[in-house]
Symmetry: C2
């Protein structure tokens, strides 16, 4: 009999909170024991939370994480626990998985491939392991690996397959972006098929500063088909009964060029049939907008909770961005925990107020109205001494935005409210936002959401809500900052369809100007000079982004630690050709 | 004869500006030819500027940097040029040194040790080289290496020594901090002695966002003595004539565990005696405060120039921080390019205005006076609607700071002035600063300067200036934010001597609370509870620092990319013990 029952614990951890993470892990073990599971697995670095960043440079933190592991060890009677922690030896520290059973550590696997690109800095902290780990009971041979190990050429998994592993368990802290699910399913399916093994892909769930971990844990059979999955953006346990095929060891099947050592440890357990739980969700149908919506809700909620805020504050402009942020926040922590303010200036349209009122009524939120005209006039008077006889420029526009920024921050300081800033990716890319004005805030919900996707999200929310949550007028009116008379965004920016395409190509796909200008969609809609203008705006505004609040990464490349550009720099040689310098 | 004449070109490059960097390199080559130099060397990555960060992820940028190298190649008739650039092959890109002569690339050395700690992210970008490079003419054997290669166990240099190298050339992009000079001299002296070789240590100079490269290039003889040096914080060329000892090759002298390959290339040149130029500066006497002062001046000047600002703006509070920033800025770009404003509120003391006036008179700067009382009153009136019957808290204090922030940003936007913010490291560590208020600005000059060092710098400036540049009253009065009546910093913070010690131990030395509490200096001066309070303030204020402007790193560990802590996190296990969790 090659049957085994496995609990998959897709938990939401808190970075650095060894105590609460340990408590949660022990609770889940207790539950899994009741469910007669033979094995329970937890995500990557579940004891420390992921990514722990520079916390791991503290010796005491590492020591404490090992104390936490010891504390978990005591709860492993009659169950095999696979849990992520940080191991150490004389050379340094390792991103590791402990395999615990009956009060003992039976083996430790150390991650061999350390991601050091995009948002990842693992080579800053960790050393690589050099041991392939297998645990076995008779014909059941389980290979353990961590996240990046299963990507690219998945050497570790192949060597486990050489040994005859019929089950691969890969524990993850894999951040979400809109392309991730498809990529994972495609790649993992081929791994399980090529290795002729069942595969459990267990992922972390939850928001951590810029990152959102989507869960979406998966189980594949040895034919590469998904046979079980856990939901996305939700903390959830699952129990799965597997009946594993027998694999003949075949040492020559895959190469071992790096000469990894193999460690095989015997385990013991009794399989007990309980009830059929395996449930296949249809995970092939991916709704991108629904996923982004859920990602933003979870990201906002977790930022609030993990930073110990109960309530948040949004400044409503009557535009679609602040309306969307309010709708997301209402979903994240409930409308009663949201304070909204409307801060009209002399340039605010009447509909900006009525639309915001309607939105708040739909969501069940109170709206506070604080006109800024007096403050605006008084600030102008103060500045008049040095501004008289100067030409109006962006200074006068920013002044209003910063008065609003000041008011919301003062309210935030008074009542301990987290300010959610409302800028979207298109604005943050081009610098079409006021530093310390509308950019002020603790969390920037739409930071990585392009304006075109803002519209899609608003429409999606209206579609799934009973009535139109977001008033149609907010969606249909031309976007405007309303910082001077009759201003609309398109005075300074191209249509958002065009702008977002350029941002995608230049920022996310790192294309050069020749490639961007030859893009079929753009070619007929925008001139080369205008395209160049946009790219230079993106470059020039790095200094603003550097001082912006964190926000949820949802695209393959977000501003923040995903994109590390110098401020003091000439960037043009990333998009134009070097003009041969010769005197 | 083993004589050789070498030009050391300690240049200030601009990140990403392939054109201006290439022009500067060619100019220096032309000059070196006139001076009959046999070899000229340039700093690490001098073609691209250092650190180029994510610019190198653009294929076109890499291609352009190779075009730039080709352009330089044409200027290498009768001179050997060692210049930093990015090499590439099918596997990826390499931080490299090209050795050029007579229009050809005679060899390329690829850096083997890639720093990926502190402010460095080189493993994010580069692959490691595996070749030891030597160029030789008869008895002159020169080993080339790049920066990190010469640190730790300096394997590369040892293998060059095995071959009999009598000259080591190490090109650098080594950022300054207050401990660096001593560390370098001590280590490099032992390298040259142990390898029995002369050693040229050539460093970059200039400011780049958070980093300042100090130059301070050095030449050691084979006994480990400094025989030549270039100045610190200054772009400068040097020519040195060396008479090298003969080294017998000794293959067994040092191990080659990583099995690096050796490449030896023949070079040719004619040594010509010109005039004795070698000058030894007394580099053993290091004046820490003078160095920090020069670092801040260069950092401020380069941030302005490299971001194309001509002028800057400082808001003067009457306190020592803004006074020091103004004095530094005056030195960096001249007093006529500085605009200062005084923005008194109802809580500002009379001396805050008179002291600022005196400072500006001493420096030859005009001071603009803009009282904020009307704006303050009017903002209070607007907020009264929701603030009435609430208790005064930090909100009312921050309100004023943000009115000032708004005014200086508006003036900045109107006249294209870079705002220099004036917070020091002690404030930024503890969050004793207002986000979007006094933290507003493009460059934060004192970001890494602890308050105790602010005083030392002010006193140093007064000592070296003809009369007291910084009025004594500014130095002697108790520090205060003047945001409420009779407020002083020490209402909320311990004495700065104590605070700065805690910051040094917790932030820079990563000590845990037990270690900090047992520190001899602190033990008698602050209670354990108060120490804990300070540490928690440091932790809690990560969110503010994340939105702060960049500033010059001058300590061994600065806030910014040197210290990557999560915002959403419980950090206590870096300083307190894990309480064994068991239900």
């Amino acid at each position: 009999m090659s049957k085994i029952k496995i609990s998959m614990s897709q938990i939401n951890t808190i970075v650095g909170s060894l105590d609460s993470n340990t408590k949660k892990i022990i609770d889940k073990i207790t539950k899994a024991k009741k469910e007669k599971s033979n094995v329970i697995c937890f995500p990557e670095l579940s004891i420390t939370g992921y990514p722990p960043e520079d916390l791991v440079l503290s010796d005491l933190f590492i020591k404490n994480n090992i104390l936490a592991l010891n504390s978990i060890k005591k709860h492993t009677k009659n169950i095999i626990v696979i849990v992520g922690f940080i191991d150490k030896d004389i050379n340094g520290i390792y991103n590791s998985a402990a395999i615990l059973n009956n009060g003992k550590i039976i083996e430790i696997y150390r991650k061999t491939r350390l991601p050091n690109y995009g948002v990842f800095d693992e080579k800053r902290y960790f050393h690589s392991g050099s041991k392939v780990v297998v645990i076995q009971k008779n014909d059941i041979k389980i290979g353990i690996s961590i996240c990046e190990d299963i990507w690219d050429d998945y050497e570790i998994c192949k060597l486990q397959s050489n040994y005859g592993c019929n089950l691969l368990i890969n524990i993850n802290g894999s951040p979400y972006d809109i392309n991730k699910k498809q990529t994972r399913i495609k790649h993992l399916s081929s791994v399980s098929k090529n290795c002729n093994a069942h595969l459990i892909y267990l992922n972390l769930v939850g928001g951590q500063d810029e990152l959102i971990f989507d869960g979406s844990s998966l189980v594949f059979n040895n034919s590469g088909n998904v046979i079980y999955s856990l939901p996305s953006f939700e903390e959830k346990d699952g129990v799965i009964d597997l009946d594993l095929n027998f694999n003949e060891p075949n040492k020559a099947q895959f190469n071992n060029p790096k000469k990894y050592n193999l460690s095989v440890k015997e385990i013991d357990f009794q399989y007990m049939y309980t009830k059929e739980r395996n449930k296949v969700r249809d995970i092939t149908k991916i709704n991108e907008i629904e996923d982004v919506y859920k990602a933003l809700i979870l990201g906002t909620r977790d930022y609030l909770i993990k930073n110990k805020f109960n309530k948040c504050l949004v400044s409503l402009s009557g535009g679609i961005d602040s309306a969307l942020v309010t709708a997301i926040a209402a979903k994240a922590i409930g409308p009663k925990n949201i304070v909204t303010v409307n801060l009209p200036s002399r340039y605010s349209s009447d509909h900006s107020i009525t639309d915001s009122e309607k939105l708040c009524k739909n969501l069940g939120i109170n709206l506070i109205n604080l006109p800024i005209e007096d403050a605006h006039r008084s600030m102008e008077d103060s500045l008049n001494f040095i501004f008289k006889n100067t030409k109006k420029n962006v200074a006068e526009e920013n002044l209003q935005a910063r008065i609003r920024g000041n008011i919301i921050m003062t309210i935030s300081n008074k009542f301990s409210l987290l300010v959610l800033s409302t800028g979207n990716k298109s604005e943050i890319a081009t610098g079409y936002a006021t530093l310390y004005g509308d950019m002020a805030g603790g969390f920037s919900v739409l930071k990585d959401v392009p304006k075109t996707m803002v519209y899609k999200l608003a429409n999606y929310i209206n579609k799934v809500s009973d009535n139109y949550t977001i008033p149609l007028n907010i969606i249909n009116k031309p976007p405007s900052a309303e910082l001077k008379p009759d201003q609309v965004d398109q005075d300074k920016l191209p249509e958002y369809e065009i702008l977002d395409k350029i941002i995608e190509l230049y920022v996310e796909k790192k294309q050069n100007i020749k490639e961007i200008m030859s893009n079929k969609i753009l070619r007929k809609k925008i001139s080369n000079d205008e395209t160049l203008d946009i790219i230079q705006m993106i470059d020039r505004n790095e200094y603003k982004r550097r001082q912006s609040a964190p926000g949820v990464k949802i695209t393959p490349l977000a501003f923040g630690k995903d994109r590390r550009y110098p401020i003091s720099s000439e960037l043009k040689y990333t998009y134009t050709k070097f003009i041969h310098y010769d005197k």
